[in-house]
Amino acid sequence: MAMAWIWTGMVAVSVIFGLINGTIGAVGTAALEGASAAVQLCISMGGVICLWTGVMEVMERGGLSEKLSRLLRPVLSRLFPNSAGNEEAMEAVSSNVSANLLGLGNAATPMGIRAAAAMRTGTEANNDLCTLVVMNTASIQLIPATVAGVRAAAGAANPFDILPAVWITSIASVTAGLLAAKLFSRIWKRS
């Protein structure tokens, strides 16, 4: 329902501003332009998205995401101290993180939920569960294919030249999230 409010709110604010600013004619034209822009965007970014899901499929069938997940496991045990001994939780977390890194969104969420179910200790989120969710709310995708698709659709000289900036930003954001998680877990005592 949240989106219903946001959508209606945006339209209502647009009409009110259009009437006040005398731009209501442009608002009407823009509505139609927006709808056809959606078609153009989907068609032009579709190619990049399909190519990338194709490459991801090859990675998965070649066993690369499994390899990556085994590689990540020792690092992740330190991030989830209370679940480090929990075989099922750790296996699911490493698959979740490796799928996120490779951009396999469809595989990441079920794995993450399996990890969450294995870490759960009651109806209140424990520290490991919070860390898991924080990690999943910060994007750690290596190749942001959708954004590259949008950039390709807009005629970028090189749609992927944003990669270094995306990586630096992702690392900073995930680190901030994990540090905040550690800090809050100390000061936010269980009630």
């Binding site: 399909c50 069938r61 950039r151 030249d161 995306v166």
Partner: protein
């Protein structure tokens, strides 16, 4: 801009294919099966984009988006974020397709290779739909008290927006 990063995509496609072929995977069928999955993703987000781009274009044409940017300009520009990205920052944690719609509108409006356009792309590519993710995870396993998960996740988002603006300025426009 030609550098080592230009190599990432071609090398990755080649490396993955050669490795999978070595593992006796039918690489070409995997590519086409994967592309078919990608098409389903595109078809799934298409209706949302029609709805959202309509609203976003109306919002922009009415002058409301500029008003929003101007309102938050002092706060955003103090920390080095272009004010034109205000609406993207607001919608990013709430709706993934909404952020895609706002982001692509900004990229078209200000130019894909402009400071604002590149920053918008980096913000889109390095942050997630925070509230949606929290709802999915905690909803799926029946957690009612989320404790500090949302504040910590929003810290990550905020640092992401700030660092995106900073790195784009330093890497591409200095």
């Amino acid at each position: 801009m030609s550098n080592i990063f230009d190599l990432v995509i071609p090398a990755l496609i080649l490396g993955v294919s050669v490795f999978a072929l070595y593992k006796k995977v039918d690489v070409y069928t995997a590519i086409t099966d994967g592309a078919a999955k990608g098409l389903r993703v595109v078809i799934k987000i298409f209706p949302a984009l029609v709805g959202l781009l309509t609203a976003v274009y109306m919002f922009q044409a009415s002058g409301a988006m500029d008003a929003l940017s101007d309102f938050f300009a002092p706060a955003l520009e103090t920390i080095g974020i272009p004010k034109e990205l205000a609406s993207l920052i607001f919608i990013r944690p709430i709706s993934g397709s909404g952020a895609l719609a706002v982001g692509s509108e900004i990229i078209t409006e200000y130019g894909v290779d402009s400071l604002i356009g590149v920053t918008a792309a980096v913000m889109l590519g390095s942050t997630e739909t925070t509230f949606y993710t929290v709802a999915v995870y905690f909803g799926a396993v029946g957690i009612r008290k989320t404790r500090w998960a949302i504040p910590a996740a929003l810290c990550a988002d905020f640092v992401g927006f700030f660092v995106a603006a900073l790195t784009v300025r330093l890497l591409f426009f200095s």
